[in-house]
Symmetry: C2
Subunit: 353 residues, 2 copies
């Protein structure tokens, strides 16, 4: 067993440090954890024929004569035979009808929880998770996310849209049917604002996008996991989760809405093979992912560059992490990348059959 | 069931927002969770007579003729009959012997993981957790933490000392014997630096300590849990964890090392009854706590005010929280405070018997 000394690593642009505590040289199998299955409800509210268990769809994708049609539920009826189905969360954290709330005083600040909170059911097939999904189906799910993003960004009260996924009970999923969640927020959340500000600062300083610089650093290095025509998947230098990886578009695009049609197929492929590799390597571990995109504003965010961050849930953030905002990671990104890379090669072969 | 609309709340000083998603008016019993017991090892390495299973103690408290003596292990032998025992973590995240590490380039920053990582075993009694501990014993444990803090702050390479506790397996505790951990860090961690900067900013702006202002706001309000002669325990306005509470000294003290002898007894009492109340209310839930103290520097942090933050582990931070740095809390701090307050009254009676 080779002992590597622990080290501290700083995130590319955030003032955030991770302790790489890799001294004990864990192998990937050390990260296999006991799984608690998501409780299987008798009836899955997201499965076909159970549409009445959820609110009316604001968007459905249907197939007719080989073409994809878009529609929505109207007059209390529910569309059947959908390929993707989007509807408001039955227990939304945010509501469009919420009024602005006055703060008790200047020190205790409060706002109404205005916003939208929707679900994208990504397939009629309960278990068609992105790591095993058909590429065509995953493409439809991604298109639906973009449609909702576009819709919410037309509302000037919406400052940011968070698109995210919880997979597995330990990662906060309460239903196991493949789905993403979309929250349209009345403010730009702290982590995104920190990234945007740091990236703008870097851009002003160096005349280059910090994320394009990340690509320069990672595209041939020991943390690369997969390269498609338009995307890189890699384990970031200062990963704060074991087996964390990011997917970045090669082309400089601040907003996800700038994505080209030609890139969409590539994004879906990159997502499919990297999540497929994670699934096979670690026996379908729980994970979360979130898109990081430019805020909704008339201001242009030239220094920002959208991307996706995937966080496998293989460790517990405890007193140290929660009190300090520093993180201990027991898997080096180099180890994560080299092992994921092996599995990605197998996944690529699989989808190319 | 009264429906309260959801709202967004900003932390007193940090630019951090929480969504209070209390619409469904959960009761405290809804937060009871299935517990996974911390694996009981045949031999607890922290129990008396097993001292050889851990590194030599850097500090032990012993009792002789009714007096408390301080000592340490020397020459490979281990002191017995200790009341509190402190020693280096067998698997430290940081080491005093680590050399500075060069960064690969100016973009990928790295540092050696220099520091100290020690354990304070707070009692010879395996289960004497702070929520049920004898006050005298808890006082000794606190004194030992202060001794280590003082020792580490004498080392100018140490910029911050994080004192924290993990209680319960879901909160990251791997051993159930009552203990705290102390990490002496070569930098001021992000969250503390954010607090310090925000507090300094507030101080310059208003000529008042932001935390003294917090006390003004909370000392008589609906979020107060307990008031002792020198401390307040309260649920913070923008709690990011269900049943989160903070303990603040009434007197303005930036560093924990400024604490008066007369205040120590009060701190221990406040900790004992508030953690005791949490234990009784929620059936010994997992939790983390951490001290927030002024950094180790020749600079004076007049605008800072040390305190303790307690985070019960009753919810999972999932894709939304991890991607945004915003938090959804399903327990309002007002509900948390009123229910904890009831139990604190019982705890106070118990210790006064």
């Amino acid at each position: 067993m080779v002992e590597t000394p622990n080290e501290l690593r700083k995130d590319y642009i955030l003032d955030r440090w991770a302790i790489m505590a890799v001294e004990r040289a864990k192998r990937p199998t050390d990260f296999h954890t006991e799984r608690v299955d998501v409780q299987v409800q008798k009836e899955c509210p997201f499965c076909p024929d159970n549409e009445a268990m959820t609110p009316p769809a604001t968007l459905v994708y249907l197939q007719k004569d080989g073409e994809i049609l878009k529609d929505r539920d109207t007059n209390g009826s529910r569309r059947k035979d959908w390929l993707v189905r989007c509807f408001p969360n039955l227990y939304p954290a945010l509501r469009a009808t919420v009024q602005e709330a006055a703060s008790p005083d200047k020190f205790l600040l409060r706002r109404g929880a205005f916003g939208f909170h929707e679900i994208v059911v990504e397939s009629p097939n309960h278990r068609e998770h992105p790591g095993i999904a058909r590429l065509d189906q995953l493409r439809l799910a991604f298109e639906a996310q973009l449609d909702l993003l576009k819709r919410f960004y037309c509302d000037k009260r919406v400052k940011y849209v968070q698109i995210f996924r919880n997979h597995g009970r330990e990662a906060g999923a309460s239903l196991s049917h493949t789905h993403t969640q979309i929250m349209a927020l009345p403010l730009v959340p702290r982590l995104i604002m920190d990234e945007v500000k740091s990236a703008e600062h870097y851009f002003k300083d160096r005349g280059q996008c910090a994320f394009c610089k990340i690509i320069e650093e990672e595209k041939e290095g020991p943390r690369l996991i997969f390269e498609s025509a338009s995307f890189f998947a890699f384990a970031p230098w200062a990963s704060i989760h074991p087996f964390e990886f990011w997917i970045l578009p090669k082309r400089h695009e601040s907003s996800l809405l700038e994505i080209h049609d030609s890139e969409k197929k590539d994004f879906v492929k990159t997502l499919r093979v990297s999540l497929g590799a994670l699934r096979k390597l670690l026996d379908d571990p729980p994970y979360n992912y979130g898109f990081h995109i430019a805020p909704n504003s008339s201001q242009e965010y030239n220094g920002y560059h959208w991307h996706l961050e995937v966080y496998p849930k293989l460790a517990t953030w405890a007193g140290f992490e929660l009190s300090s905002g520093m993180y201990i990671n027991t898997a080096s990104p180099e180890m994560a990348a080299v092992t994921l890379h092996e599995y990605v090669r197998l996944e690529v072969k699989e989808i190319e059959v």
